[in-house]
C-alpha cells in the first residue's frame, strides 16, 4: 500500500477560496499582497472527484470557513455530513459521530503543504516557493495559479494543483493526482469578505 496524503488535498481545497487577486501592477507579488489582507470569510463549495475505479464522479458539497490566522474549516453537508477543522496544527475530523484528532507533525508532507497554504494566506511567497514551483497565467480579471510540488514524496501523490480566479475571487481548485484521478472544487462566496 502506498501512503497517499489525503489531507494535503483536503487542505488545499480548504484554503483556496481565500486566494484573492487584484488588478494593478499585476504579478505574483501583488497577488500575494492582496491575499495577505484576507482576515476571514465564508463560502459554499461543491466538489467532484473523478476516480478511475468508479463509473461516475462522486460529489459532495458544503461550506468553507476561514478565520485568520490559523483556523480553517471544511463542513461537508452532502452526501455524508462531515466536519473538518484545522486549528493551530491540529486537524480534527468529525464524521458519523466519531471524532479524530491528528497532530499535523505526524504527517510531514501535509505539514509542508499547510505551511504553504499559510504562506499563501499570509502572502508569503517564499514559504510557498519552498514547497511548490509556481506558475501564474492569465490576467488580473481571469487568472490561473498552478502549484507543482517540489518534494518527491508529495509529487508522488499530487502532480499539480490549479487555482482559477476571476478578479478578486476564486472560482475553482483542481487537484490532479499522480495516478490520473482528480478532484474539482467549485467555490461561491456566501458574503463579501471584509
Amino acid at each position: 500500500m502506498r501512503a497517499p496524503s489525503p489531507w494535503l488535498l483536503v487542505l488545499c481545497a480548504l484554503a483556496s477560496p481565500w486566494l484573492y487577486a487584484v488588478a494593478d501592477a499585476w504579478g505574483l507579488d501583488s497577488l500575494m499582497q492582496t491575499l495577505a489582507q484576507n482576515q476571514s470569510g465564508r463560502a459554499r463549495f461543491s466538489e467532484r472527484k473523478f476516480i478511475a475505479l468508479l463509473d461516475q464522479p462522486v460529489e459532495s458539497s458544503g461550506e468553507l470557513v476561514y478565520v485568520a490566522p490559523d483556523h480553517l474549516e471544511k463542513n461537508t453537508f452532502k452526501p455524508v455530513p462531515e466536519g473538518l477543522v484545522l486549528d493551530r496544527g491540529l486537524l480534527t475530523i468529525e464524521r458519523e459521530g466519531r471524532k479524530h484528532t491528528l497532530p499535523l507533525s505526524d504527517y510531514p508532507d501535509v505539514a509542508a503543504f499547510i505551511d504553504s497554504i499559510r504562506g499563501t494566506l499570509a502572502g508569503d511567497r517564499q514559504a510557498l516557493e519552498r514547497v511548490y514551483r509556481l506558475f501564474l497565467g492569465g490576467s488580473s480579471r481571469h487568472w490561473t495559479l498552478a502549484l507543482q510540488p517540489l518534494a518527491p514524496a508529495m509529487a508522488a501523490s499530487i502532480s499539480r494543483i490549479t487555482i482559477v480566479g476571476e478578479a478578486g475571487q476564486i472560482r475553482s481548485v483542481e487537484i490532479n493526482q499522480a495516478d490520473g484521478d482528480r478532484s474539482v472544487m467549485a467555490i461561491t462566496p456566501v458574503a463579501p469578505t471584509p
Binding site: 497517499p4 489525503p6 475505479l53 468508479l54 459532495s60 471544511k74 455524508v80 466519531r98 505526524d106 478532484s183
Partner: protein
Amino acid sequence: MSGLPHGGHRLVIVVWLAFAVCCGWLASRASFTADLSAFLPSAPTAEQRLLVDLLKDGVASRLILVGIEGADAATRAGLSKALAERLRAEPAFSAVNNGESAGLVRDREFLFTNRYRLSPAVTAEHFSVAGLHAALAETINGLSSSAGLLLKALLPRDPTGEMTRLLDLADGGTRPASIDGVWAARDGQRALLLLRTQAAGADIDGQQQAVAAVRRAFDAVAGEGAAVRLLMTGPGVFAVAARDTIRGEAIRLSTLGSLIIVALLLLLYRSLATLLFGLLPVVSGALAGVAAVSLVFGVVHGVTVGFGATLIGEAVDYSIYLFVQSDGQANRAWLVRFWPTVRLGMLTSVFGFASLLFSGFPGLAQLGLYSIAGLLTAAAVSRFVLPALRPGGFAVRDVSSLGLRLAVLSRQAWRLRGLLAVLLLAAGLVLTLHRDAVWNHELAALSPVPAADLALDAAMRADLGAPDVRYLVVVPGADREAALRSAEQLGEKLQALTAAGVIAGFETPARFLPSAATQQARLAALPSAQELAARLGAAVLGLPVQAGRFAPFAADVEAARRRGVLTRADLEGTTLALAVDGMLVRHDQAWMALLPLKAPLAGPSAQLIQAAAVREALAAAGPPGVLFVDIKSETDRLYAGYLQEAIHLSLAGLAAILVLLLAVLRSPARVARVSAPLLAAVLVVVGGLVLAGQRLILLHLVGLLLIVAVGSNYALFFDRRGGDSHGGVAPRTLASLLFANIATAAGFGLLAFSSVPVLQAIGATVAPGAFLALVFSAILAERPKPWTP
C-alpha cells in the same frame, strides 16, 4: 569500681550475651525488603489483592518512559533510533517502541492481512447481497469525504471497509506526535520512547538492571559531553530511585544522628568505656527489634529498620538516666530511687506502641513490634546488664552546676503557664479552623517519588498516550480462550455503556486477539469464491462501479477462509502484542482479561466514571467473577481505612496508657499532671504542623505516639518530686533529662530534613514534640515550696 563481676552478675551477663547472639543470628538471617508492600494492605479484598498484584507485576508496572532532551529535533530523532536499536538487542527488554514507522507498517500489515478475522462487522448478513450492497454504497460515499482519496487505494481489495473500521478501533486513543520519524512530545522539545522490561515492576533488582542498561546504551550513542539529556520515569524507575533514596537517607541520617549523639555522650561521659556501655542498650534493643519482626513477620521492611534511628532516641535515654542520676554512687541506690520511674515511663511507651500491633498495615504493625521489643530489651539491659558489668557505678562529668542552674530555671517555669494556655488556645483554634484538612487521605502522600518526577511522568505519559489506567473491568477465565470470550461478552455491555455516555470508551484484548470461537464464526460467515462472485454481481446493481473491479477482494476473502485462527504468537513483532499482553494476563492459576475504561471527557461526570452504573450493568449480565476497579479511589480508600484504623488504635493506646498510669500512681490528680504536658505537646505540635501547611499522614500519627512515649519519662520525673526535700526535681535528674532530650531531638531533628516523606513526617513531629514535652512538664510540674537552703 571493682574488678570482675561475680555470682548473679555473671549469670546476668551470660544470659544477655546468649540473648544478643540469638538476636544477632536472627537478624542476620532476616530477609529485608524495600518495595512498596510496606504501604500495601496485608488482608485485602479480591479487588485489592488484584490491585496489589497489578502494581507489583502487571504490564503497566513494567513500562519505562524515556525522554531525550537537548540539541535539535534531528539529533534527538537520530539518538532515539540509535538507542532503540541498541535496546532491542538487550534481553532485559521485551518491547522497545519509539514510533519508527517500521513498527507501524508491521501493525498495518497485520491488521490488513487479518481484517476478516479481526473486524467485528464480519457476519453472514454483512456478506449477503444486501449487506455487500450497503457496504459498497457506504464505501463509495466515503470516497466523497475528505479522506476519500486515501480510501480510494483500498477499494479494490477492501470494498467493505474492514480496514477503515479496524483503524478506527485501533485509533481509539490519541497517538503520540512524531518528528523526523520518531515519537516526540507535543511541544516538540523531547524525543520519546516506550520500553517494556522483562522484569516485573516489583523486581527492583531487575528494574535496576534495566535502568542501568538504558543509561549505558544512551551514554554509548550520545557520546561524551553531548548536550543531550536522558529522562526516565515509570513505576520501576521510581521504585529503584525510591529504594536508593530511602536506603541512602536512612543510612546517612542514622549515621549522622548517631555521630551527634555519640559526640554529645562523649562530652557528657568523658570516657570511651562509659560511652560504649551507654550504647549497649541501644544496640541490644535494635537487634532484638529486628529479630522479633523477622520472627513474627518473616520479612523486615526497610522502613522499619529506618526507625532504628528513632529507637536510639528513646533507648539511649535509659543509660543517660542511669549514669547521670546515679553519679558514681552504687547502682543499687539508683535502682531503688529512679528505676521505678524509668520502668513506668518505658511501660507507657510499650502500651502506646502495642496499639500499633493491631494495625492491618504491615508497616505499622512491624514498627509497633520493633519498638516494643527494642524498648523492653534496652530497658532490661540498662536495668540488669549495665549494673552487672560495672557494679561499682559509672563516673561521668560532674553536671551539678548545670543541674543547679536548670533547677533555678525549672522553679520559675510555672510562671509560663499563661503562655502555655495561650499556645494551647492557638493550637486549638488552628485545628478547629482546619479540621477538614488535618489528614491527608491519599496514598500518594506516602510516596517517596518527588513531585517533579511525577509531573514529568504525567507529561510523558500524556504525550505517549501510554495507559494511565485508573478504571479497569477485570474478568477471569480458566484459560486464555475463556478470558477472551468473557472479554467479548463484556465488550457488548461496555459498548452499550459507551452509547449511553456512562463511559467514553474502552479497550479490550479481544480487539486484536479475538477468541478462537469468534474468529471461527467470522471465517464461517465468509462465502466461497463462487458464491461471493455471484453476490457481488447482484450487489453492485445501482452503484457506479463494476463487479469486475473487486477481483483482489474476492482473492483476499478466499485466502482468509483457508487460513486458521490467529493466536498470540501471530501478533509477535507488532506493537499490538504489547497492548494485548497488557490486557490479557496470567494471574495465579487462571487468566485474566483487563479492560481499561475511559472516563467521559465532558458532561455531568467528566473525567469520572459513575462506578455504581458500571457495576450495575456488569452485575446484570456480566460473566461470573467480573470486577470493576477504580484504582485511584480503591488505593485511597484503602489508605484512608488504615489511617482511620491507626487513629482509633492510637486513641486506644492512649487510653491504655492512662489506665496504666492510674493503676500505678493511684491518683487521678497525678495521672492528670503526668499526661497534661504530653497531651499539650501533641496538641501544639499538630497545630504547628497544620499551620505550616502540612497535611498529616500515617507517620505523623506514629510520631505523636512517640512524643507520648518519650515524653512520659520527663513527665514522670517531674511528678516524682523526689530527691529534693524542698520540692522540685533534683538538679542531677534535670541535667539527665536535658541530655536525654537533646539526644532525642538531635536524632529525630535530622529526619525532619529527609526528602522521604515518611522519615520527614516522623522527624518533624517528634523533635519539636519531645522538646515541648520536657518544657511543658517543667511548666506544669507542681509549684515548688519556697527555697530554704
